[in-house]
């Protein structure tokens, strides 16, 4: 019975399965990224390193305007979502439980629970009516729609940060006759900043990545980068889409790394 000691990390087959899973998770993404630098057109045949497809994509007016549009929407939507999320987080944390608190949580997290296609259809109908009434076709529909589904993503890290902050510094400030605004501006806000930055980054990534709601809400000629790519995928696929994907992927990884550094617990 000597070898009946139990090594938890060595359940048979678990490690092998896990390694296989990681390989399968990364193989497609890495292949995509590597072949975006391929001089040739094939995804299977390497014909030498080149920035050809990146140059191609960047020379394409449709890609350029979709990129600019995506960035404008992501900046505006994440700014609005983060502002709302900061206020809501200040309202719903660090005070005694009050009636309606659960309802506010549920409402804020609602976009996480409803299937995106359902929200997209709902917004299609609503914006259709408003577009017909007002004749306005601009970007604000997309900005507001994006801001709404970004709120929970901005709210969660901000709330987590707030919950980890005790009230003593703020109480000290108000004891020293700081006005509520001064206390917020000079005490709460600086302490909360990493949470706000993290929330804003998540909101930015979520907005930048959105396909379904954008596809339904956008007016004619208002492609964002993801909806442009979706349109291209129905036709013959060129490595140009590879290049755009890889660029977006790179941006996401950079923002995520920053997010993890910001929210990392100092132990």
């Amino acid at each position: 019975m000597a070898d009946r000691s139990f090594e938890v990390s060595r359940l048979p087959g678990f490690a092998a399965t896990a390694i296989l899973v990681f390989v399968l998770l990364y193989l497609p993404i890495i292949t995509l990224a590597v072949y975006s630098f391929n001089a040739g057109k094939s995804i299977a045949l390497w014909e030498g390193f080149s920035f050809h497809w990146y140059a191609n994509a960047w020379a394409n007016e449709a890609v350029k305007s979709a990129t600019v549009r995506s960035l404008i929407i992501a900046f505006a939507a994440s700014a609005i979502a983060t502002t709302c999320a900061v206020m809501a987080a200040l309202g719903t944390t660090r005070r005694k439980a009050f009636r309606g608190q659960t309802a506010i949580y549920m409402f804020i997290n609602q976009p996480l629970m409803v299937p995106e296609i359902v929200t997209a259809v709902a917004l299609l109908i609503l914006t259709g009516v408003i577009k017909a009434w007002t004749g306005y076709q601009g970007l604000w529909y997309l900005i507001i729609a994006h801001a709404a589904f970004c709120v929970p993503f901005a709210y969660l890290p901000i709330r987590a940060r707030l919950e980890g902050m005790d009230l003593s510094l703020e109480i000290a400030a108000s004891d020293l006759y700081a006005s509520p605004w001064q206390t917020f501006r000079h005490v709460t806000l600086p302490l909360l900043a990493p949470g706000i930055a993290a929330g804003a980054m998540l909101a930015f990534v979520i907005s930048l990545d959105d396909v379904v709601i954008t596809e339904f809400v956008k007016s004619a000629g208002q492609d964002t980068l993801p909806t442009y790519m979706l349109g291209q995928m129905r036709r013959a696929i060129t490595p140009e889409v590879n290049a755009i994907s890889t660029a977006l992927l790179g941006l996401t990884v950079i923002l995520l790394t920053a997010f993890f550094l910001l929210t990392r617990k100092k132990s």
């Binding site: 139990f6 938890v8 359940l11 087959g13 678990f14 896990a18 390694i19 296989l20 899973v21 990681f22 399968l24 998770l25 990364y26 497609p28 993404i29 292949t31 995509l32 094939s42 995804i43 299977a44 045949l45 609005i80 979502a81 709302c84 206020m87 809501a88 200040l90 309202g91 719903t92 009050f98 309606g100 506010i104 409402f107 804020i108 609602q110 629970m113 409803v114 299937p115 995106e116 296609i117 359902v118 929200t119 997209a120 259809v121 709902a122 299609l124 109908i125 507001i144 801001a147 709404a148 709120v151 379904v212 790519m229 979706l230 995928m233 696929i237 994907s245 977006l248 992927l249 996401t252």
Partner: protein, 304 residues
């Protein structure tokens, strides 16, 4: 007994809480929750001739989910095409949940049993695909399995097959894609559950001469059950409403509910049916979520 001043202070605090939450609530009401009410209303209207709706009360949208009206004698018949789509959606979503669990459980276990520093690294590696654009991940799978893709070129290159295996635009392609995109959603809650698990219980079970399988079944599974439920719901719910992955990998024919809903607002020009389908999908998701909340609150207290 709270004093008058304390009560006034509590009331002021609650008022502040609501005031501060107002911008977020208004935004979400206008652009997320509120419009759902319009969909509900539309599901009870008659269909317009060129898309849109006619403002007459009608249950045709709801009836149309399961039945189609014969154009000649106006009788109702079960709509086989619709049932095929629902069945495919449920089948693919269930299979996706099962496969992601089969692959995700060992992976979560592996991560949870690494030393702390390595664990953070593995966790980060799971999180990157999680936050990566779903369209890009679907596209990456597309590049792997299409006829001129990586897998077929490789197999042809080594001479194993002479003709490419046709995988794209099949149910299998959608299943592969869904498994790939939703796998991190299974691993993360499983990891959270396993991470809380006291590994000494394993040794205890093992010392009492339980076999590996018995330990797995009687010690591990009951304790990580909340994680299993959470992971399954997190995978099943978005699978059922999936739109992008079936559209890119399934082609026009292998539709799931999400694509079927879109069709009603596009070429199908049957907005009430699309609205009714949306509300039905929403209800199914809500039931799944309630089930999840129940199971999670019951399971969160396994040691009494």
């Amino acid at each position: 007994m709270a004093s008058e001043a304390e009560r006034a202070q509590a009331a002021a605090s609650t008022r502040n809480a609501w005031l501060l939450s107002t911008p977020a609530l208004v935004l979400l009401f206008c652009a997320a929750a509120g419009p759902l009410l319009i969909v509900l209303v539309y599901s009870f209207l008659a269909k317009g001739d060129y898309g849109g709706v006619a403002w007459n009360f009608s249950t045709d949208g709801w009836v149309g989910i399961l039945f189609s009206r014969d154009i000649f004698d106006d009788t109702l018949q079960l709509a086989d095409a619709h049932l095929t789509i629902f069945w495919r959606s449920v089948k693919i979503s269930l299979l996706t949940t099962l496969i992601t669990f089969a692959l995700g459980f060992p992976t979560a276990w592996f991560i949870a049993t690494r030393p702390p520093k390595a664990r953070a690294m593995w966790l980060f590696l799971i999180t990157i695909p999680f936050w990566t654009n779903l369209l890009i991940r679907t596209f990456a799978i597309n590049e792997m399995i299409r006829n001129e893709g990586v897998v077929n070129s490789f197999l042809q290159g080594i001479g194993l097959i002479s003709e490419p295996i046709r995988m794209i635009n099949t149910d299998l392609a959608v299943l592969i894609g869904m498994t790939y995109v939703y796998l991190p959603l299974m691993v993360l809650p499983l990891f959270a559950a396993i991470d809380r698990f006291d590994m000494r219980l394993l040794e205890a079970g093992y010392d009492l001469y339980a076999s590996r399988l018995q330990v797995l079944r009687h010690v591990i599974l009951p304790i990580v059950k909340p994680g299993i439920v959470a992971g399954s719901i997190l995978v099943f719910v978005p699978s059922l409403g999936a739109y992008v992955t079936p559209r890119v990998l399934g082609g026009g024919k292998n539709m799931m509910i999400g694509n079927f809903i879109e069709l009603q607002f596009g070429q199908g020009r049957n907005w009430p049916l699309g609205a009714a389908l949306s509300i039905a999908l929403l209800l199914i998701v809500m039931i799944a979520l309630i089930f999840y909340v129940r199971a999670a609150t019951k399971g969160s207290n396994p040691h009494g």
